[in-house]
Amino acid sequence: MDDFWDNADDIDSNFYTGEEPSSHPIEIPVNPFAEVDPASSQPDIQTGDLNGFEKAGGSDYYLSNMEGPEVSIPDLKTVIEENSGNEISLTSDTESNKTGDINILGGSTETLEMTNHFEYSSEESSPGNIPESEALSQIYGSPESDMDYWVQQLYPDTCAIVSQKFIIEDFVGVDLTEDQLRDMAIDKGYYTPGHGTFPYEVGNIIEDFGITVLRNEGNTFDDIVEKLTNNQKIIVSVDSNAIWNGSDSWSLIDLLHMPGADHAVQVIGYNSENETVILNDPGHPDGQGMTVPLNDFLYGWDAGNNFMVSTIDPAPPSYA
């Protein structure tokens, strides 16, 4: 009996105890837009047109190129529909972050309830490039365009397949259904219904479309930022509890036994100003452009051995 535990003394126990994992030194690469003169390139954040909102789509309206987390402003939909064709502008109450004014050109001003502070820019993002408004807030990647590919997974074990779907559509420029890719994965033995996907088989479907990927563990967040800057596409394995509920604020319904990676998501951006990671999470109803505090992301990613599947090449600009 005496030797039962002998070899276990020096094992790091922080993973299971819920303590913070060892920190990842973050050295953000030089922002290619850092030399832009803010005075000369400051976008007009007070005006926009209706198309800017409509492209976000969905039953609620989302403003994607803004500061802070994505916000849903249900009332905005009604206002936009009632004022179709008019130019509008938005201003927000930055003190409380609770309300914003929407101004109809030549018309009335209405105050809307908000769930967060927002600023809207009328400038369109360019595929593969960081819009100037985003560059000013240090956003890496192309989250706005990548969000267009998001759908929620239909099956409990297809997060890896759907995450691959986002990237394939981005590269190839065709719409594919989850079932098409799922059937393909079944035929090729990458996936068995009810069993999910093994980590090192994530990316097989992407490669079948002629897109080369790299799979490896032990990555740092610097690696993610570098690939986002290059417009390479990224899937990571994470502990869903950590990214959905935070490393220290789980709700009971989302706490399931022991911590561990149980989910695959696409990383589509990083906002260094507020230190949030932007995800396309196929497993969450609000997973389109989901923003996660960096520390929670690192905690959840650490549980997944810092595993990453990334494309070798950047996404083609024409499809990004």
Partner: protein, 175 residues
């Protein structure tokens, strides 16, 4: 949770290991460890299963285990691995039908703080339980407290799989 728990350290090493990562579907989560005694040595069995909630207002649905690991309780070395899609020890279980929901009634009303406190207390007792189990003793108070917490926290839907793996452990808990 005690940082000195040796069971925890072994469990942590296994859960962070490359072999566990590579041989476990991405979508799965681990069960509580199940102690097994074979030839006077202690091992721990884990079942990896899928728990997913696809709609906001639903409970998490649990699906049957997909793979099983048994590790050496001293070194965390994997001594047995079964991919149930190849060797199915539970052919009667449907792969795609939920076997249960989380949280189950025993913990549904528990606060998060209490849940974590109880889980930590349970895991802390693994050291003593395994020692007692290895020495073929039975401290009734110890096993009584452990058993009460184990059955309170463990997902009932997983129990049939666990019981088949370590019947003597579950017999002790029921006595």
């Amino acid at each position: 949770m005690s940082a000195d728990s040796r069971a925890l350290k072994v469990v942590n090493e296994f859960l962070k290991s490359k072999i566990k990562f590579q041989l476990t579907p991405l979508e799965t989560a681990p069960s509580l460890p199940v102690p097994i005694i074979i030839n006077s040595k202690a091992y721990l069995a884990f079942f990896f299963f899928i728990g997913k909630r696809l709609n906001k207002n639903e409970k998490i649905k649990l699906y049957r285990p997909l793979v099983k690991f048994v590790i050496d309780g001293n070194t965390a070395r994997v001594v047995n691995y079964v991919d149930y899609s190849v060797i199915d020890e539970f052919p009667e279980s449907d792969w795609q039908e939920p076997i249960g929901e989380f949280p189950h009634p025993e913990i549904a009303e528990m606060t998060l703080e209490n849940y974590k406190k109880n889980r930590n207390e349970l895991i802390e007792k693994y050291d003593e339980i395994i020692t007692d189990f290895l020495e073929n003793k039975k401290d009734e108070q110890l096993w009584g407290e452990f058993s009460q917490k184990f059955y309170q926290l463990c997902e009932p839907a997983l129990l049939p799989y666990m019981e088949k793996e370590s019947p003597s452990f579950f017999e002790r808990m029921k006595l």
